[in-house]
């Protein structure tokens, strides 16, 4: 988090982890809670459609479309998010998740 008055330059940049999860929309509130419980400070969600082993999924099915959740966080939280989400939901729900390295201004804010 950036506080008023901070000077932001390349010097304040540092490494963070970037986690993405794609899953059914029905899981949004559940996984949202899990992510915050793992210690993340926030997350961003978009509505997407997709194709996988469970066939095509889009908003036209009444069931629910897919969502894509992305989280910037430190490595421990990133691993915890993936572990929790996979442990709880991978068995019964279509789920895709991965983690990447990223560089962000103010890395300690995440």
């Amino acid at each position: 988090m950036v506080l008023p008055g901070d000077v932001l330059t390349a010097a304040t940049m540092g490494p963070v982890k970037y986690v993405v999860i794609v899953c059914e929309e029905a899981l949004e509130p559940l996984i949202g809670h899990d992510i915050m419980d793992c210690g993340a400070k926030g997350y961003t969600v978009s509505t997407v459609r997709g194709r996988g082993v469970r066939g095509v999924r889009d908003a036209r099915s009444f069931l629910s479309s897919n969502i894509r959740i992305e989280v910037l966080c430190d490595p421990a939280v990133a691993q915890a998010v993936l572990d929790t989400v996979y442990g709880k939901y991978a068995k019964h729900y279509g789920l895709v998740g991965f983690m990447q390295d990223a560089v962000a201004p103010d890395p300690d804010g995440y």
């Binding site: 066939g55 908003a59 036209r60 099915s61 009444f62 019964h92």
Partner: protein, 314 residues
């Protein structure tokens, strides 16, 4: 044409989908149409309640709800025993067939209006009460009578689902204000009903076509079930309507309700309550088989069955 022209739009959507057309309704439009139909139906029931003695409805509602348990219980046995479907799948599908489809109901009512057959507007009150019992039965079948924390969350989830909430809410608004107090809403929610229903059925046709893929996974047993079970349930509905002394039109609508399968409230609830169940099976059967069957064949069939039954019994 004894069929309502809205059925034409369903077929148009189906054809467009099967031809691989780029025609699609935006998801926002689907949501809007769903909200509209639920409110319009609830409001109509409420306006009717305001002119009816409500106490006289209590007994019929209790009977209609109690007898509605028949469909999910029988479905479960058929699917699990005969169809060799897994425990969770059988429970989930039973829920879908025990619950009701608002649009099938609307098509049934349109059919009656088109034929100048009278029915009681309080039938939409039944619709409200028939949405959720089967969902609870499905969960109990799948998880047994463990009344744990989960079941409470589930019950809450179901009762605050948008289908129930809009139906009940609009019913109450219609009841409180009455047709006269709510006159300014009539043009929008009654005059335009058929137009909105036509658009919705166009979308349902597209969606059904998209489900035809799932049908292969569904297999012949489940496809057969999707046609036979509604007819069995409709027969039950006719018997119950007759016993309760409903008019022929109302009885036909009760048969349609019993014979219809849910694809809004039930799938959403099942996905959370019985995640082990495969949604492609239940949605494939309910949207891919039963909905088109009911809209095109079932509705006129249930009317003929009702007439025949009343003629025989009188």
């Amino acid at each position: 044409m004894s069929l309502d022209p809205v059925v034409g739009f369903f077929i148009l959507g189906l054809v467009a989908g099967l031809l691989g057309s780029d025609l699609k309704l935006s998801s926002g439009l689907y949501d809007t149409l769903t909200v509209y139909l639920l409110i319009a139906i609830g409001l109509k029931g409420g306006f009717e309640l305001a002119q009816t003695s409500v106490t006289s409805l209590i007994l019929p509602i209790v009977v209609v709800v109690a007898m509605s348990a028949f469909t999910p219980l029988v479905s479960y046995q058929l699917l699990h025993r005969l169809g060799k479907l897994s425990h969770p799948d059988a429970a989930s599908i039973s829920s879908h067939y025990g619950s009701v489809s608002v649009v099938t109901f609307a098509v049934g009512a349109s059919y009656l209006i088109k034929q100048d057959i009278e029915y009681d507007n309080y039938m939409s009150v039944f619709l409200v009460f028939l949405e959720f019992p089967a969902i609870i039965i499905g969960v109990l079948l799948a998880r047994g009578l463990k009344l744990d924390a989960g079941i409470h969350r589930m019950a809450r989830e179901v009762l605050t689902g948008k289908a129930i909430l809009l139906l009940v809410g609009a019913l109450l608004i219609g009841w409180i204000w009455g047709r006269e107090g709510g006159a300014s809403l009539v043009m929008f929610f009654e005059g335009l009903f058929k137009g909105f229903l036509a658009l919705f059925l166009l979308g349902m046709g597209l969606m059904t076509a998209a489900r035809f893929d799932d049908l292969r996974r569904v297999g012949p047993f489940l496809a057969g079930f999707g046609i036979v079970m509604p007819v069995i349930s409709a027969v039950g509905g006719i018997a119950v309507g007759w016993v309760l002394g409903l008019s022929q039109g109302s009885t036909m609508l009760l048969a349609t309700l019993y014979g219809s399968a849910s694809y809004i409230a039930a799938p959403a609830a099942m996905r959370i309550a019985i995640p082990e169940a495969n949604p492609a099976l239940s949605m494939g059967a309910s949207l891919g088989v039963t909905f088109p069957f009911n809209v095109v064949v079932g509705v006129p069939l249930y009317w003929e069955m009702t007439r025949w039954f009343y003629r025989v019994m009188s």
